[in-house]
């Protein structure tokens, strides 16, 4: 948790810090995710927040965005399989599930826009990508366009 104060510097480290998490939870839960996914962890830090990157055995990349106060405010994913949303979305999993049943734009594109949860999910088997974030937890001046 040293990383996020390294203002302005994109520091990339191949380290195994105890550092993954679940959306809306403290950074300490990041390690739960890593263990759950049997994944490898890489951490980068930029101004005001840190990004913890997990690579699952199936080569899906999960990135967890952690604010200076230690909360996971966003997650993104990219790879051949979807991540375990019950694990990565945590308390927001039920909102995601019910949101996926709302009016929507098809089986290969999903957008959920609620006051406390935004989800963009796209793709098909072999190529999934998307993100989820909690608007109220976004750091000041953070642009969601930076969730990659």
């Amino acid at each position: 948790m040293l990383g996020w104060l390294t203002a302005g510097v994109l520091a990339s480290q191949s380290v195994c810090l105890p550092a993954l998490a679940t959306l809306g939870e403290d950074v300490s839960t990041v390690e739960n995710d890593r263990m759950h996914m049997k994944a490898q962890l890489r951490m980068t830090s930029v101004a005001g927040y840190a990004v913890h990157e997990i690579q699952t055995p199936a080569n899906t990349i999960v990135r967890e965005y952690v604010s200076a106060s230690g909360k996971v405010f966003a997650v993104s994913w990219s790879g051949p399989l979807l991540p375990d949303f019950r694990q990565t979305l945590g308390r927001y999993f039920d909102d995601y599930n019910s949101g996926a049943s709302d009016p929507r734009v098809g089986r290969r594109h999903l957008t959920i826009e609620r006051a406390d949860l935004v989800v963009n999910s796209h793709g098909h088997m072999r190529a999934f990508y998307g993100n989820a974030y909690v608007p109220s937890l976004l750091p000041p001046n953070f642009s969601v366009a930076d969730i990659k």
Partner: protein, 415 residues
């Protein structure tokens, strides 16, 4: 799914005559031949319309499925034709045959949770002989979704269950995409919550699955015409109540399936290619008959609200139709080929504003990004999904990985 977005619609109609002309290459679509299978874009299984969720831009065909090695067979209609996946999946409630389960080397039944972004479908693999046109795939593993004997869905199979015809939007799906297996190397190891092995009908465990045991593209199991498919649909101007065309097996294997002047767009391991659209380079783009619209990022086009106040929630709804273009290039083996596509996006709400049936809508499009409350656009997914509207008026070729064609090895799309 593909059509439920417009599920609030009670009725739809045909704005313009149903397209009946030839494809962009100026050839007549063959309707007969040992490798020619009739396909239709219509409102889907009757239960969809009666439940208020008729399909839109969904391509269907009929598949004959048989108990292996017997003449005990069943024709199943309204199987969706999908170039975005591989393998045959059937909703169990439409199946009247009793098919043997597929077992792994330990004698455990293989089951699968196939994930979509809006849910998942669960069930065991069962074996069948599949007959389409005059082609046969013997002893093929078929995913039986919602199988009555396997009703205990594992916890890892998350998301909204799509195990019924109404939830799935079809009686099944025929995946004829550019890959041999449905999942590939990502499922060889356990942990992906996709393949499972079952020691009983209620005890299924997340398991790695060797490529040879995964669900496969039925085309690769044919004796001939097994290197890919062509989908040939007539042009559609605006909307149509139905569209008829052909699914042709093989590329360059018979007199009716040559590549001609089609441009070959090679694919990477994810099946992706690159689309240049306006000033964006979208490297995770794909062509997909299983997507019911064009999906691409353009914050300058107005969208309908993502709720029930519109007939097309979340779709592009420009006040007046806009003419656009994108250029596709391959992500696979470099071949210097690019292909430009002109297309039109119309007000999706307006397309469905009267009571007549609209099963085909050539100008239907939606964003592949969302716009946040602060107005910034999420652009993490660099994707342009060229859905079924691309196929109207074009012969679109799908060449399967590791299969040779006159234009080289798959995987590629060409049109």
């Amino acid at each position: 799914m593909r059509a439920n977005l417009i599920g609030a619609l009670i009725g739809m109609f045909c704005l313009v005559g149903c397209g009946g002309g030839g494809g962009s290459v100026g050839t007549t679509i063959p309707t007969t031949g040992s490798n020619v299978q009739a396909v239709t874009v219509d409102s889907g299984p009757a239960v969809l319309a009666s439940s208020g969720t008729p399909s839109v831009n969904t391509l269907y065909t009929t598949v004959t499925i048989c108990v292996p090695g017997t003449s005990t067979c069943q024709d199943i209609d309204h199987i969706q034709v999908d170039t975005g996946s591989s393998g045959l999946r059937i909703i169990s409630t439409v199946l009247t045959l009793s098919l043997p389960v597929k077992k792994d080397s330990s004698g455990n039944v293989i089951a699968e949770c196939v994930h979509f972004v809006d849910g998942s479908s669960w069930g065991p693999l069962r074996q069948a002989d599949i007959k389409i046109a005059s082609e046969t795939a013997s002893n093929l593993s078929v995913h039986i979704i919602g199988d009555a004997a396997y009703q205990t869905v594992p916890a890892g199979c998350t998301g909204t269950a799509e195990n019924s015809v109404t939830a799935f939007g079809a009686n099944g799906i025929l995946g004829v995409g550019p890959f041999i297996q449905d999942c590939g190397s990502g499922c060889v190891q356990a942990g992906g919550a996709t393949y499972y092995t079952c020691t009983s009908t209620t005890a299924c465990t997340d398991s790695g699955m060797p490529l040879a045991m995964q669900i496969t593209n039925p085309v690769t199991a044919f004796a001939t015409d097994n290197n890919g498919v062509i989908i040939e649909l007539p042009a559609v101007t605006s909307t149509a109540a139905s569209v008829s065309g052909s699914l042709i097996f093989g590329i360059g294997t018979q007199g009716n399936n040559g590549l001609g002047s089609a441009k070959v767009l090679t694919l990477d391991g994810a099946g992706a290619l690159t689309t240049t659209y306006k000033n964006q380079t979208l490297g995770q783009s794909f062509i997909d008959s299983g997507s019911n619209a064009y999906y691409f990022p353009d914050s300058s086009i107005k969208t309908c609200p993502n709720d029930n106040t519109t007939r097309a929630p979340g779709f592009y709804c420009p006040a007046t139709a806009v003419n656009l273009s994108g250029t596709l290039t391959g992500n696979g083996v470099a071949n210097g080929v690019s292909s430009s596509v002109n297309f039109t996006v119309a007000d999706a709400n307006g397309l469905f504003s009267t009571n007549a049936t609209v099963a085909a809508a050539a100008t239907l499009a939606a964003p592949s990004t969302s716009v946040s409350a602060d107005g910034s656009t999420f652009n993490g997914a660099d994707t342009f999904d060229w859905g079924l509207p691309l196929y109207y008026g074009r012969n679109v070729y799908t060449a399967i990985e590791n299969q040779n064609t006159s234009a080289g090895m798959g995987p590629y799309f060409a049109f």
